[in-house]
Amino acid sequence: MVESSTGAADPAAWPRVDDGAAFAAFYARHEAVVYRTALAMTRDASIAEEVVTDTFLRAYVARATLDPERSPVPWLQKVAINLCVNRLRRRRLPSQPLDDVTAHAMRDRDPSRSPERMSEQREAMDALLAGIARLKPRQRAVVVLRFLHDYSLAQIAETLDEPLGTVKSRLHSAVYALREDLHADARVRDLVPAPRVGAVAGPDAEVAQ
C-alpha cells in the first residue's frame, strides 16, 4: 500500500499560494502516486508524464480555491484520472503487452524463479494487461484505484465523485470482463479456473434462465 495514496496521512498538505518552495515540495511528495495512476491507466510512459504535468499545473492554477484542510491526494487522483479518461477516449491507446519497466521489475523482484515460470507469469500479465486495456476507461479507473492504491469502495466513490452503488457495479463488471478475457486467452487458460459446467454466461444471465 502506498502511504500517501489513501489521502489519510496528510490532511493539510496544500502548499501556500505564495510559496514556490512549498509547491515544489508538494510536487515532489505526490508526483509518484499520480504518475503510477496515470501509467496504470494509460500504460504509456510519455502520456503518463504529460498527465502528471497537466495535473499539477491544474493544482497550481486552482491552489487558491482549494480547501487546505482536505487532503490533496483524492483531488489529484481525480484530475489525473479524468485527464487519462479523456485521452483514452480521444484516441484508442494500443494495449501494450508488458512495458519494459514492468518486465524489469518482475525479473528483479524474483530472480530465483525458473525461466518457464517467469514466462508463464509474463504471459499471464500480458493477457491481464490486454484485458485491462479493453476495459472502459471508468472501469479501468476503479480497478486502478482498487488494486494499485488499495482504495475502499467508499474512497473510490469519493475520489471519482460517483455513487457507491455505481462504483460497486463498475468493479464487478470490470472483474467479470477480465475473467472472460482470461478464459478466452489460450496462453493463460490454465492459470484461471475454467467456468464450471452449467455456470451462467454473464452477470445478468440468470434473467434469461
Binding site: V52, T53, M125, Y176, L182, D204, E206, V207
Partner: protein, 191 residues
Amino acid sequence: MSALFATACRDRREAIVELVEGRLAAPEETDVLAHVAACAACSAMLADTVALTMHLRRLAQQDRQVAPPAGGWARLRARVMAHELRHRRAPWSVRLATLFAQGGLKAVVAPLVLLVVLATSGAGVQLFGAARPEATLTDGAAVVRQARLAPDDRPGAVAHGAAPEAMPGLRIAHDPQRPTADPAAPPIPRF
C-alpha cells in the same frame, strides 16, 4: 421467481470482490458465503475472482516499483511560467473585460473621459507638456518632484488604474513585475 433469483445472484456477485479481499462486514459475509455455497454459478465466479485478484495484486505490486522519470519538476515549472506569462499579461481586451466584470468600470472609463475632455479643451496639451521637465520647468525642486512622480518616462507609462480626480496629472510608473490581468489572482510564488 427467476427474476428474484437473478437479483439475489447479482447482489451477491457485486460483493464477491469485497468478500475475496476480506472487506465485507460479518453479516454480509455470512450471507454471501451461504449463497455461494448453494449457487454453482456464483461459486464459479468466486473461484475466478480469487485467481483474478491474485493476478491483479501481482500486477499492482510491480506497478508500485515504477518511479517517475527525472525532469518532471523542470517541465512543470516551465509550464507554470508559460501559464503566468499567458494569463497575467493578457491583451488589453481581456484586461478591460476583467475590470468590467469586477466592477472596476470607473477606473477604466474615468481616465478615458478625462483624456477626451483635456484633449478637446486644449488644457491637456499644457498639462502633459508641463510634465516634461525639459519643456517648461526650470525650478530644480519641481524637476525632482516630477521625477518622483514619474520615474519612467516611456510612452506606455501613462496613467491607468489611478483615480484621476484625486491626483490630476499623476503618471503611474509601469511596473513590469506587477500583475495586471486579474487583481484577484493569487500571487506568483518564487520557485
